[in-house]
Protein backbone atom coordinates (compact mmCIF):
# COMPACT_ATOMS: atom_id res chain seq x y z
CA UNK A 1 0.00 0.00 0.00
CA UNK A 2 1.18 3.54 -0.70
CA UNK A 3 2.85 5.59 1.97
CA UNK A 4 0.73 8.63 2.76
CA UNK A 5 1.42 11.55 5.09
CA UNK A 6 -1.36 11.99 7.62
CA UNK A 7 -1.17 15.78 7.23
CA UNK A 8 -1.93 15.49 3.51
CA UNK A 9 -4.82 13.17 4.31
CA UNK A 10 -6.04 15.73 6.85
CA UNK A 11 -6.11 18.57 4.32
CA UNK A 12 -7.80 16.48 1.62
CA UNK A 13 -10.37 14.98 3.98
CA UNK A 14 -11.30 18.31 5.50
CA UNK A 15 -11.92 19.75 2.02
CA UNK A 16 -14.27 16.82 1.38
CA UNK A 17 -15.99 17.27 4.74
CA UNK A 18 -16.48 21.01 4.14
CA UNK A 19 -18.14 20.15 0.85
CA UNK A 20 -20.34 17.50 2.45
CA UNK A 21 -21.37 19.16 5.72
CA UNK A 22 -22.40 22.81 6.15
CA UNK A 23 -21.29 22.74 9.80
CA UNK A 24 -17.60 21.93 9.27
CA UNK A 25 -14.97 24.67 9.63
CA UNK A 26 -11.18 24.63 9.96
CA UNK A 27 -9.32 26.95 12.34
CA UNK A 28 -5.63 27.50 11.84
CA UNK A 29 -2.94 28.80 14.20
CA UNK A 30 -0.74 30.09 11.35
CA UNK A 31 0.60 26.68 10.42
CA UNK A 32 -1.65 25.89 7.45
CA UNK A 33 1.19 25.20 5.07
CA UNK A 34 2.73 22.78 7.58
CA UNK A 35 -0.47 21.04 8.61
CA UNK A 36 -1.86 21.07 5.06
CA UNK A 37 -5.02 22.79 6.15
CA UNK A 38 -3.97 25.24 3.42
CA UNK A 39 -5.82 22.86 1.11
CA UNK A 40 -9.00 24.03 2.84
CA UNK A 41 -7.90 27.67 2.67
CA UNK A 42 -7.63 27.37 -1.10
CA UNK A 43 -10.65 25.14 -1.79
CA UNK A 44 -13.09 26.50 0.80
CA UNK A 45 -11.93 29.94 2.01
CA UNK A 46 -15.43 30.45 3.42
CA UNK A 47 -14.78 27.63 5.90
CA UNK A 48 -11.18 28.42 6.74
CA UNK A 49 -10.35 30.76 9.61
CA UNK A 50 -6.80 31.84 10.27
CA UNK A 51 -6.92 32.85 13.94
CA UNK A 52 -3.31 33.86 14.37
CA UNK A 53 -0.36 32.80 16.46
CA UNK A 54 -2.52 32.78 19.56
CA UNK A 55 -3.50 29.27 20.64
CA UNK A 56 -5.49 30.28 23.71
CA UNK A 57 -7.79 32.42 21.60
CA UNK A 58 -7.81 29.72 18.92
CA UNK A 59 -9.34 27.20 21.31
CA UNK A 60 -11.90 29.68 22.64
CA UNK A 61 -13.02 30.66 19.14
CA UNK A 62 -13.52 26.99 18.32
CA UNK A 63 -15.56 26.52 21.51
CA UNK A 64 -17.82 29.41 20.55
CA UNK A 65 -18.33 28.00 17.07
CA UNK A 66 -19.19 24.59 18.52
CA UNK A 67 -21.62 26.17 20.98
CA UNK A 68 -23.32 27.79 17.98
CA UNK A 69 -23.75 24.41 16.27
CA UNK A 70 -20.69 24.19 14.03
CA UNK A 71 -18.08 21.42 13.93
CA UNK A 72 -14.73 23.22 14.13
CA UNK A 73 -11.48 21.37 13.45
CA UNK A 74 -8.61 23.20 15.16
CA UNK A 75 -5.38 22.61 13.30
CA UNK A 76 -2.04 23.25 14.97
CA UNK A 77 0.99 21.40 16.28
CA UNK A 78 0.47 18.88 19.06
CA UNK A 79 3.12 20.69 21.10
CA UNK A 80 0.97 23.82 21.22
CA UNK A 81 -2.49 22.25 21.41
CA UNK A 82 -1.59 19.99 24.31
CA UNK A 83 0.21 22.53 26.45
CA UNK A 84 0.09 26.18 25.38
CA UNK A 85 -3.71 26.30 25.61
CA UNK A 86 -4.35 23.51 28.07
CA UNK A 87 -6.48 25.61 30.42
CA UNK A 88 -8.63 26.67 27.49
CA UNK A 89 -9.02 23.07 26.34
CA UNK A 90 -9.94 22.07 29.88
CA UNK A 91 -12.44 24.87 30.62
CA UNK A 92 -14.20 25.65 27.33
CA UNK A 93 -13.81 22.38 25.42
CA UNK A 94 -13.53 19.34 27.69
CA UNK A 95 -15.59 20.48 30.68
CA UNK A 96 -18.59 21.63 28.59
CA UNK A 97 -17.98 18.67 26.24
CA UNK A 98 -18.22 20.92 23.21
CA UNK A 99 -17.95 19.53 19.73
CA UNK A 100 -14.40 20.73 19.05
CA UNK A 101 -11.95 18.52 17.15
CA UNK A 102 -8.26 19.06 17.82
CA UNK A 103 -5.98 18.05 14.95
CA UNK A 104 -2.64 17.68 16.73
CA UNK A 105 -0.14 17.68 13.91
CA UNK A 106 3.57 16.88 14.17
CA UNK A 107 2.84 14.59 17.09
CA UNK A 108 5.56 12.44 18.61
CA UNK A 109 9.21 13.27 17.91
CA UNK A 110 9.33 13.11 14.09
CA UNK A 111 8.68 16.81 13.65
CA UNK A 112 10.96 17.83 10.82
CA UNK A 113 14.08 19.19 12.49
CA UNK A 114 12.38 21.32 15.11
CA UNK A 115 13.82 20.03 18.36
CA UNK A 116 12.24 19.62 21.75
CA UNK A 117 10.21 22.86 21.84
CA UNK A 118 8.03 21.51 19.04
CA UNK A 119 7.80 17.96 20.36
CA UNK A 120 5.32 16.92 23.04
CA UNK A 121 5.91 13.25 23.77
CA UNK A 122 3.45 13.41 26.69
CA UNK A 123 0.32 14.73 24.98
CA UNK A 124 -1.59 11.47 25.32
CA UNK A 125 -1.00 11.53 29.08
CA UNK A 126 -2.31 15.09 29.29
CA UNK A 127 -5.32 14.68 27.05
CA UNK A 128 -6.52 11.34 28.35
CA UNK A 129 -6.68 12.76 31.87
CA UNK A 130 -9.36 15.27 30.81
CA UNK A 131 -12.94 14.06 31.37
CA UNK A 132 -15.04 13.94 28.15
CA UNK A 133 -11.99 13.96 25.88
CA UNK A 134 -11.60 11.25 23.25
CA UNK A 135 -7.99 10.55 22.25
CA UNK A 136 -7.14 8.96 18.91
CA UNK A 137 -3.81 8.16 17.23
CA UNK A 138 -4.30 6.62 13.77
CA UNK A 139 -1.44 4.49 12.48
CA UNK A 140 -1.32 5.45 8.80
CA UNK A 141 -2.89 7.66 6.17
CA UNK A 142 -5.89 5.50 5.39
CA UNK A 143 -6.77 5.00 9.04
CA UNK A 144 -6.34 8.75 9.60
CA UNK A 145 -8.80 9.42 6.78
CA UNK A 146 -11.45 7.19 8.31
CA UNK A 147 -10.71 8.39 11.86
CA UNK A 148 -11.09 12.05 10.85
CA UNK A 149 -14.49 11.18 9.38
CA UNK A 150 -15.51 9.24 12.48
CA UNK A 151 -14.37 12.05 14.78
CA UNK A 152 -16.37 14.59 12.76
CA UNK A 153 -19.57 12.62 13.25
CA UNK A 154 -18.78 11.86 16.91
CA UNK A 155 -20.57 14.14 19.36
CA UNK A 156 -18.02 15.69 21.73
CA UNK A 157 -14.38 16.79 21.89
CA UNK A 158 -11.67 14.75 20.18
CA UNK A 159 -7.89 15.06 20.33
CA UNK A 160 -6.35 13.41 17.28
CA UNK A 161 -2.63 12.82 16.99
CA UNK A 162 -1.41 13.14 13.42
CA UNK A 163 2.09 12.73 12.06
CA UNK A 164 4.13 14.76 9.62
CA UNK A 165 5.88 12.41 7.24
CA UNK A 166 4.66 9.68 4.89
CA UNK A 167 4.30 6.35 6.62
CA UNK A 168 3.86 2.87 5.10
CA UNK A 169 0.20 1.97 4.75
CA UNK A 170 -1.04 -1.05 6.72
CA UNK A 171 -4.78 -0.30 6.72
CA UNK A 172 -6.87 -1.57 3.84
CA UNK A 173 -8.75 1.11 1.93
CA UNK A 174 -12.18 1.89 3.30
CA UNK A 175 -11.79 -0.12 6.52
CA UNK A 176 -14.41 1.41 8.84
CA UNK A 177 -13.05 3.25 11.86
CA UNK A 178 -14.96 2.75 15.06
CA UNK A 179 -13.95 5.01 17.94
CA UNK A 180 -13.02 2.90 20.96
CA UNK A 181 -12.28 -0.30 19.02
CA UNK A 182 -8.89 -1.98 18.83
CA UNK A 183 -7.73 -4.08 15.83
CA UNK A 184 -5.95 -7.39 16.01
CA UNK A 185 -3.37 -7.01 13.24
CA UNK A 186 -1.24 -10.08 13.82
CA UNK A 187 -1.60 -13.25 15.91
CA UNK A 188 1.29 -14.81 17.83
CA UNK A 189 1.96 -16.87 20.93
CA UNK A 190 5.38 -15.84 22.27
CA UNK A 191 4.60 -12.22 23.17
CA UNK A 192 2.16 -9.48 22.35
CA UNK A 193 2.65 -5.88 21.27
CA UNK A 194 -0.04 -3.32 22.07
CA UNK A 195 0.68 -0.25 19.98
CA UNK A 196 -0.82 3.00 18.79
CA UNK A 197 -0.23 5.67 16.15
CA UNK A 198 2.55 5.35 13.64
CA UNK A 199 4.43 3.13 16.06
CA UNK A 200 2.04 0.34 15.06
CA UNK A 201 3.63 0.29 11.62
CA UNK A 202 7.07 -0.16 13.21
CA UNK A 203 5.70 -2.77 15.60
CA UNK A 204 4.37 -4.80 12.66
CA UNK A 205 7.75 -4.57 10.98
CA UNK A 206 9.43 -5.76 14.18
CA UNK A 207 6.97 -8.65 14.48
CA UNK A 208 7.74 -9.65 10.91
CA UNK A 209 11.51 -9.76 11.44
CA UNK A 210 11.03 -11.57 14.75
CA UNK A 211 8.96 -14.23 13.01
CA UNK A 212 11.84 -14.76 10.61
CA UNK A 213 13.92 -15.48 13.73
CA UNK A 214 11.30 -17.96 14.91
CA UNK A 215 9.65 -15.66 17.48
CA UNK A 216 5.92 -15.42 17.13
CA UNK A 217 4.62 -12.00 18.26
CA UNK A 218 1.01 -10.79 18.15
CA UNK A 219 0.11 -7.14 17.48
CA UNK A 220 -2.96 -5.37 18.84
CA UNK A 221 -3.41 -1.88 17.42
CA UNK A 222 -5.18 0.55 19.76
CA UNK A 223 -5.89 3.70 17.76
CA UNK A 224 -8.32 5.03 20.36
CA UNK A 225 -6.40 5.48 23.58
CA UNK A 226 -9.46 6.90 25.26
CA UNK A 227 -11.94 5.35 25.59
CA UNK A 228 -9.67 2.33 25.30
CA UNK A 229 -11.00 -1.00 24.11
CA UNK A 230 -10.49 -2.63 27.50
CA UNK A 231 -12.12 -5.92 26.53
CA UNK A 232 -9.75 -6.35 23.61
CA UNK A 233 -6.68 -5.51 25.71
CA UNK A 234 -7.67 -7.89 28.53
CA UNK A 235 -8.43 -10.69 26.10
CA UNK A 236 -5.15 -10.08 24.29
CA UNK A 237 -3.27 -10.22 27.60
CA UNK A 238 -4.77 -13.65 28.23
CA UNK A 239 -3.31 -15.05 25.04
CA UNK A 240 0.36 -14.11 25.45
CA UNK A 241 2.90 -14.58 28.25
CA UNK A 242 4.01 -10.96 28.29
CA UNK A 243 3.07 -7.66 26.75
CA UNK A 244 5.06 -4.83 25.22
CA UNK A 245 3.40 -1.48 24.73
CA UNK A 246 4.75 0.53 21.85
CA UNK A 247 4.20 4.24 21.22
CA UNK A 248 5.96 7.39 20.03
CA UNK A 249 5.33 8.89 23.45
CA UNK A 250 6.63 8.90 26.99
CA UNK A 251 6.31 5.67 28.94
CA UNK A 252 4.47 7.77 31.52
CA UNK A 253 0.74 8.07 31.15
CA UNK A 254 0.31 7.22 27.49
CA UNK A 255 -0.81 3.93 25.97
CA UNK A 256 1.65 2.03 28.17
CA UNK A 257 0.26 3.70 31.24
CA UNK A 258 -3.33 3.05 30.18
CA UNK A 259 -2.67 -0.63 29.46
CA UNK A 260 -0.73 -1.14 32.70
CA UNK A 261 -3.44 0.57 34.76
CA UNK A 262 -6.16 -1.54 33.20
CA UNK A 263 -4.37 -4.87 33.48
CA UNK A 264 -3.22 -4.19 37.05
CA UNK A 265 -6.87 -3.94 38.05
CA UNK A 266 -8.38 -6.70 35.94
CA UNK A 267 -5.78 -9.19 34.82
CA UNK A 268 -2.31 -8.57 36.28
CA UNK A 269 0.31 -9.21 33.62
CA UNK A 270 3.88 -8.26 32.92
CA UNK A 271 3.81 -5.09 30.80
CA UNK A 272 7.01 -3.66 29.35
CA UNK A 273 6.56 -0.11 28.11
CA UNK A 274 8.54 0.90 25.05
CA UNK A 275 8.68 4.65 24.53
CA UNK A 276 10.57 7.73 25.62
CA UNK A 277 12.00 7.16 29.09
CA UNK A 278 11.46 10.51 30.83
CA UNK A 279 13.46 12.46 28.28
CA UNK A 280 12.79 15.24 25.83
CA UNK A 281 13.49 14.81 22.15
CA UNK A 282 15.82 16.83 19.95
CA UNK A 283 16.43 17.83 16.32
CA UNK A 284 17.60 15.21 13.89
CA UNK A 285 16.73 13.04 10.91
CA UNK A 286 13.83 10.68 11.55
CA UNK A 287 15.87 7.49 11.35
CA UNK A 288 18.42 8.81 13.82
CA UNK A 289 15.72 9.96 16.23
CA UNK A 290 13.96 6.61 16.13
CA UNK A 291 17.24 4.79 16.82
CA UNK A 292 18.39 7.10 19.61
CA UNK A 293 15.08 7.00 21.47
CA UNK A 294 14.52 3.27 21.02
CA UNK A 295 11.51 3.57 18.72
CA UNK A 296 12.73 2.08 15.42
CA UNK A 297 11.45 -1.29 14.26
CA UNK A 298 14.95 -2.62 14.90
CA UNK A 299 14.95 -1.29 18.48
CA UNK A 300 11.54 -2.81 19.17
CA UNK A 301 12.74 -6.11 17.68
CA UNK A 302 15.86 -6.18 19.86
CA UNK A 303 14.07 -5.24 23.08
CA UNK A 304 11.59 -8.06 22.57
CA UNK A 305 14.25 -10.57 21.59
CA UNK A 306 16.47 -9.68 24.58
CA UNK A 307 13.59 -9.76 27.03
CA UNK A 308 12.40 -13.17 25.83
CA UNK A 309 15.95 -14.53 25.96
CA UNK A 310 16.37 -13.44 29.57
CA UNK A 311 12.90 -14.51 30.70
Amino acid sequence: MTALAQRDVFGDTLVELCNEDARVAVLDGDLANSTKSDKVALARPDRFFMIGIAEQNLIGVAAGMAAAGLIPWVSSFAAFLATRDLDQVRVVVAQPSLNVKLAAHYSGILTGFTGKTHQVPNDIAIMRSLPNMTVIAPCDGEEARMAIRAATIHEGPVYMRLTRDPIAGVTRAGKPFRIGKASMLRVGKDAGIVSTGGQTVRALEAAQTLSEAGIDVAVLHVPTIKPMDGDAVVEFAGRVPLIFTCEEHSIYGGLGGAVAELLAEIRPARVIRLGLRDVDGESGPNDALLEKYGLSAGCVHHRIQETLASA
Binding site: Q56, N57, G64, M65, A68, P72
Partner: protein, 278 residues
Protein backbone atom coordinates in the same frame (compact mmCIF):
# COMPACT_ATOMS: atom_id res chain seq x y z
CA UNK B 1 -38.91 48.76 29.89
CA UNK B 2 -38.37 52.10 31.61
CA UNK B 3 -35.16 53.04 33.36
CA UNK B 4 -37.03 53.07 36.66
CA UNK B 5 -38.25 49.49 36.19
CA UNK B 6 -34.77 48.36 35.13
CA UNK B 7 -33.34 49.90 38.29
CA UNK B 8 -35.92 47.87 40.19
CA UNK B 9 -34.70 44.69 38.48
CA UNK B 10 -31.13 45.61 39.41
CA UNK B 11 -32.21 46.00 43.02
CA UNK B 12 -33.78 42.54 42.88
CA UNK B 13 -30.55 41.10 41.44
CA UNK B 14 -28.63 42.56 44.38
CA UNK B 15 -31.18 41.35 46.92
CA UNK B 16 -31.24 37.79 45.54
CA UNK B 17 -27.45 37.81 45.39
CA UNK B 18 -27.18 38.75 49.06
CA UNK B 19 -29.67 36.06 50.04
CA UNK B 20 -28.05 33.34 47.92
CA UNK B 21 -24.54 34.17 49.10
CA UNK B 22 -25.74 34.29 52.69
CA UNK B 23 -27.45 30.93 52.28
CA UNK B 24 -24.42 29.36 50.57
CA UNK B 25 -22.08 30.67 53.27
CA UNK B 26 -19.87 32.70 50.94
CA UNK B 27 -19.74 34.11 47.46
CA UNK B 28 -18.94 36.98 45.15
CA UNK B 29 -20.79 40.21 45.74
CA UNK B 30 -18.87 43.33 44.64
CA UNK B 31 -18.59 42.46 40.95
CA UNK B 32 -22.26 41.46 40.78
CA UNK B 33 -23.27 44.80 42.23
CA UNK B 34 -21.15 46.73 39.73
CA UNK B 35 -22.87 44.86 36.88
CA UNK B 36 -26.43 44.70 38.24
CA UNK B 37 -27.99 47.51 36.16
CA UNK B 38 -26.29 46.19 33.03
CA UNK B 39 -27.42 42.60 33.61
CA UNK B 40 -30.97 43.86 34.23
CA UNK B 41 -30.92 46.02 31.11
CA UNK B 42 -29.44 43.31 28.91
CA UNK B 43 -31.93 40.62 29.90
CA UNK B 44 -35.03 42.84 30.14
CA UNK B 45 -34.39 45.19 27.26
CA UNK B 46 -31.41 44.63 24.97
CA UNK B 47 -30.99 40.92 24.29
CA UNK B 48 -33.18 39.24 21.67
CA UNK B 49 -34.02 36.13 23.61
CA UNK B 50 -36.90 33.81 24.43
CA UNK B 51 -36.79 32.45 27.98
CA UNK B 52 -39.26 29.74 26.96
CA UNK B 53 -36.86 28.59 24.24
CA UNK B 54 -33.33 29.03 25.57
CA UNK B 55 -31.85 27.00 22.68
CA UNK B 56 -33.45 29.22 19.99
CA UNK B 57 -30.73 29.25 17.28
CA UNK B 58 -31.28 32.90 16.36
CA UNK B 59 -31.14 34.24 19.92
CA UNK B 60 -28.57 36.82 20.90
CA UNK B 61 -25.69 35.24 22.80
CA UNK B 62 -24.43 36.51 26.15
CA UNK B 63 -21.18 35.38 27.78
CA UNK B 64 -20.31 36.40 31.32
CA UNK B 65 -16.54 36.23 31.02
CA UNK B 66 -16.21 37.40 34.63
CA UNK B 67 -17.75 34.08 35.61
CA UNK B 68 -17.26 34.53 39.36
CA UNK B 69 -20.28 36.86 39.20
CA UNK B 70 -22.46 33.89 38.27
CA UNK B 71 -25.00 34.49 40.99
CA UNK B 72 -25.91 37.83 39.42
CA UNK B 73 -26.49 36.12 36.10
CA UNK B 74 -28.57 33.40 37.76
CA UNK B 75 -30.66 36.04 39.51
CA UNK B 76 -31.48 37.88 36.30
CA UNK B 77 -32.18 34.61 34.45
CA UNK B 78 -34.61 33.60 37.19
CA UNK B 79 -36.25 37.03 37.22
CA UNK B 80 -36.62 36.82 33.44
CA UNK B 81 -38.35 33.44 33.73
CA UNK B 82 -35.68 30.93 32.74
CA UNK B 83 -36.18 28.97 35.97
CA UNK B 84 -38.05 29.38 39.27
CA UNK B 85 -36.80 32.09 41.62
CA UNK B 86 -36.79 29.59 44.50
CA UNK B 87 -34.01 27.65 42.78
CA UNK B 88 -31.61 30.51 43.62
CA UNK B 89 -31.46 29.01 47.11
CA UNK B 90 -29.60 26.02 45.66
CA UNK B 91 -26.64 28.21 44.61
CA UNK B 92 -23.39 26.35 45.27
CA UNK B 93 -25.22 23.38 46.85
CA UNK B 94 -24.30 19.85 45.83
CA UNK B 95 -26.10 18.72 42.64
CA UNK B 96 -27.27 22.28 41.95
CA UNK B 97 -27.59 23.62 38.42
CA UNK B 98 -26.32 26.89 39.84
CA UNK B 99 -22.60 26.21 40.12
CA UNK B 100 -20.11 28.65 41.62
CA UNK B 101 -19.12 29.54 38.06
CA UNK B 102 -21.53 29.23 35.09
CA UNK B 103 -21.76 25.66 33.77
CA UNK B 104 -23.59 25.48 30.44
CA UNK B 105 -23.93 21.71 30.72
CA UNK B 106 -26.20 22.10 33.74
CA UNK B 107 -28.38 25.19 33.27
CA UNK B 108 -30.28 26.09 30.08
CA UNK B 109 -29.82 29.74 29.19
CA UNK B 110 -26.07 29.80 29.73
CA UNK B 111 -24.38 30.30 26.37
CA UNK B 112 -20.85 29.47 27.60
CA UNK B 113 -19.12 27.97 30.61
CA UNK B 114 -16.77 30.51 32.17
CA UNK B 115 -14.72 30.95 35.30
CA UNK B 116 -11.07 30.86 34.29
CA UNK B 117 -10.57 34.57 33.70
CA UNK B 118 -9.79 36.10 30.34
CA UNK B 119 -11.43 33.31 28.36
CA UNK B 120 -14.91 34.62 27.55
CA UNK B 121 -14.18 36.90 24.62
CA UNK B 122 -12.71 34.19 22.41
CA UNK B 123 -15.89 32.04 22.36
CA UNK B 124 -17.76 35.26 21.60
CA UNK B 125 -15.63 35.58 18.46
CA UNK B 126 -16.47 31.97 17.57
CA UNK B 127 -20.19 32.70 17.93
CA UNK B 128 -19.93 35.89 15.88
CA UNK B 129 -18.03 34.05 13.14
CA UNK B 130 -20.60 31.24 13.27
CA UNK B 131 -23.44 33.77 12.89
CA UNK B 132 -21.74 35.15 9.83
CA UNK B 133 -20.94 31.72 8.36
CA UNK B 134 -24.50 30.45 8.79
CA UNK B 135 -26.22 33.70 7.83
CA UNK B 136 -27.90 34.16 11.21
CA UNK B 137 -28.50 37.69 12.39
CA UNK B 138 -27.88 37.32 16.09
CA UNK B 139 -25.55 39.59 18.06
CA UNK B 140 -23.03 38.31 20.59
CA UNK B 141 -22.41 40.21 23.84
CA UNK B 142 -19.51 39.49 26.18
CA UNK B 143 -19.17 41.07 29.61
CA UNK B 144 -15.61 41.24 30.87
CA UNK B 145 -14.11 42.66 34.04
CA UNK B 146 -11.21 45.08 34.01
CA UNK B 147 -9.17 42.75 36.22
CA UNK B 148 -9.27 39.96 33.67
CA UNK B 149 -7.86 42.25 30.96
CA UNK B 150 -4.55 41.47 32.67
CA UNK B 151 -4.84 38.07 30.94
CA UNK B 152 -3.04 37.94 27.59
CA UNK B 153 -5.85 36.01 25.92
CA UNK B 154 -8.10 39.09 26.04
CA UNK B 155 -5.65 40.87 23.76
CA UNK B 156 -5.24 37.86 21.47
CA UNK B 157 -9.01 38.00 21.11
CA UNK B 158 -9.13 41.80 20.76
CA UNK B 159 -6.73 41.56 17.83
CA UNK B 160 -8.60 38.69 16.20
CA UNK B 161 -12.11 40.20 16.48
CA UNK B 162 -10.94 43.42 14.83
CA UNK B 163 -9.09 41.47 12.13
CA UNK B 164 -12.41 39.83 11.19
CA UNK B 165 -14.32 43.15 11.50
CA UNK B 166 -16.86 41.49 13.77
CA UNK B 167 -19.52 44.18 13.97
CA UNK B 168 -21.91 41.55 15.36
CA UNK B 169 -19.83 41.33 18.55
CA UNK B 170 -19.89 43.71 21.51
CA UNK B 171 -17.78 43.67 24.64
CA UNK B 172 -19.10 45.28 27.79
CA UNK B 173 -16.27 46.24 30.13
CA UNK B 174 -17.50 46.41 33.71
CA UNK B 175 -14.83 48.89 34.70
CA UNK B 176 -15.10 48.86 38.48
CA UNK B 177 -11.35 49.15 38.95
CA UNK B 178 -11.08 46.66 41.80
CA UNK B 179 -10.14 43.01 41.83
CA UNK B 180 -9.72 40.24 44.39
CA UNK B 181 -6.66 41.71 46.09
CA UNK B 182 -5.53 44.49 43.82
CA UNK B 183 -2.52 46.68 43.28
CA UNK B 184 -0.76 48.90 45.73
CA UNK B 185 -1.91 52.49 45.97
CA UNK B 186 0.61 55.25 46.77
CA UNK B 187 -0.16 54.36 50.39
CA UNK B 188 0.81 50.74 49.79
CA UNK B 189 -1.66 48.02 50.66
CA UNK B 190 -3.19 49.75 53.68
CA UNK B 191 -6.25 51.13 51.92
CA UNK B 192 -9.27 49.02 51.00
CA UNK B 193 -10.10 51.52 48.23
CA UNK B 194 -7.35 50.52 45.87
CA UNK B 195 -9.01 51.31 42.57
CA UNK B 196 -6.72 50.85 39.61
CA UNK B 197 -6.13 54.31 38.09
CA UNK B 198 -7.31 55.22 34.60
CA UNK B 199 -4.73 53.62 32.40
CA UNK B 200 -5.60 54.54 28.83
CA UNK B 201 -8.10 51.74 28.44
CA UNK B 202 -9.99 53.62 25.72
CA UNK B 203 -6.81 54.20 23.71
CA UNK B 204 -5.81 50.54 24.01
CA UNK B 205 -9.06 49.18 22.57
CA UNK B 206 -9.15 51.90 19.96
CA UNK B 207 -5.60 51.02 18.90
CA UNK B 208 -6.66 47.39 18.58
CA UNK B 209 -9.28 48.46 16.03
CA UNK B 210 -12.41 48.60 18.14
CA UNK B 211 -15.29 51.03 18.12
CA UNK B 212 -15.04 52.47 21.65
CA UNK B 213 -18.18 53.65 23.47
CA UNK B 214 -18.47 54.85 27.06
CA UNK B 215 -21.29 55.17 29.53
CA UNK B 216 -22.24 55.14 33.18
CA UNK B 217 -22.83 51.44 33.82
CA UNK B 218 -25.37 52.20 36.54
CA UNK B 219 -27.57 54.34 34.26
CA UNK B 220 -29.90 52.03 32.31
CA UNK B 221 -30.88 54.69 29.76
CA UNK B 222 -27.26 55.51 28.99
CA UNK B 223 -26.39 51.82 28.76
CA UNK B 224 -29.32 51.14 26.41
CA UNK B 225 -28.12 53.95 24.20
CA UNK B 226 -24.59 52.52 24.14
CA UNK B 227 -25.92 49.02 23.34
CA UNK B 228 -28.04 50.38 20.50
CA UNK B 229 -25.05 52.18 19.03
CA UNK B 230 -22.92 49.05 19.45
CA UNK B 231 -25.48 46.83 17.68
CA UNK B 232 -25.97 49.29 14.86
CA UNK B 233 -22.30 50.03 14.24
CA UNK B 234 -20.68 48.44 11.24
CA UNK B 235 -17.20 47.31 10.21
CA UNK B 236 -15.75 47.04 13.69
CA UNK B 237 -16.44 45.18 16.91
CA UNK B 238 -17.60 47.52 19.67
CA UNK B 239 -16.64 47.84 23.29
CA UNK B 240 -18.80 49.65 25.81
CA UNK B 241 -16.56 50.91 28.57
CA UNK B 242 -18.97 51.06 31.46
CA UNK B 243 -17.87 53.16 34.41
CA UNK B 244 -19.05 51.32 37.51
CA UNK B 245 -18.55 51.09 41.24
CA UNK B 246 -17.72 47.76 42.82
CA UNK B 247 -20.24 46.96 45.53
CA UNK B 248 -22.65 49.61 44.16
CA UNK B 249 -25.87 50.01 46.08
CA UNK B 250 -24.67 49.24 49.58
CA UNK B 251 -22.79 52.12 51.19
CA UNK B 252 -20.27 50.12 53.14
CA UNK B 253 -19.48 47.84 50.20
CA UNK B 254 -18.90 50.50 47.58
CA UNK B 255 -15.32 50.82 46.45
CA UNK B 256 -13.98 48.36 49.06
CA UNK B 257 -12.09 45.44 47.55
CA UNK B 258 -12.80 43.18 50.54
CA UNK B 259 -16.41 42.76 49.34
CA UNK B 260 -15.18 41.04 46.17
CA UNK B 261 -16.05 37.76 47.83
CA UNK B 262 -16.68 36.95 51.46
CA UNK B 263 -19.11 35.34 53.88
CA UNK B 264 -22.05 37.47 55.03
CA UNK B 265 -23.32 37.65 58.60
CA UNK B 266 -27.05 37.90 59.35
CA UNK B 267 -26.56 41.50 60.45
CA UNK B 268 -24.69 42.52 57.31
CA UNK B 269 -27.34 41.00 55.08
CA UNK B 270 -30.13 42.73 56.99
CA UNK B 271 -28.38 46.07 56.83
CA UNK B 272 -27.52 45.72 53.15
CA UNK B 273 -31.05 44.70 52.18
CA UNK B 274 -32.51 47.59 54.14
CA UNK B 275 -30.21 49.98 52.25
CA UNK B 276 -31.31 48.49 48.92
CA UNK B 277 -34.95 49.01 49.81
CA UNK B 278 -34.45 52.75 50.33
Amino acid sequence: MTAQLLKGVAREIRRHTLRAVHHAGAGHIGGVFSAAEMLATLYFHVLRIDPQNPAWPDRDRFILSKGHCAIGLYAVLALRGYFPIEELETFDAIDSRLQGHPDMTKLPGLDMSTGSLGQGLSPGIGMALAARMTGRGFHTWVMIGDGETQEGQIWEAAFCAARYSLDNLTVILDWNGLQQYGWATPAGYESNARRNPADGVQAKWSAFGWNVLECDGHDPAAFVDACTRARDASDKPAIIIAHTTKGKGVSFMEGDYTWHSRPLSDEVVAQAISELAQ
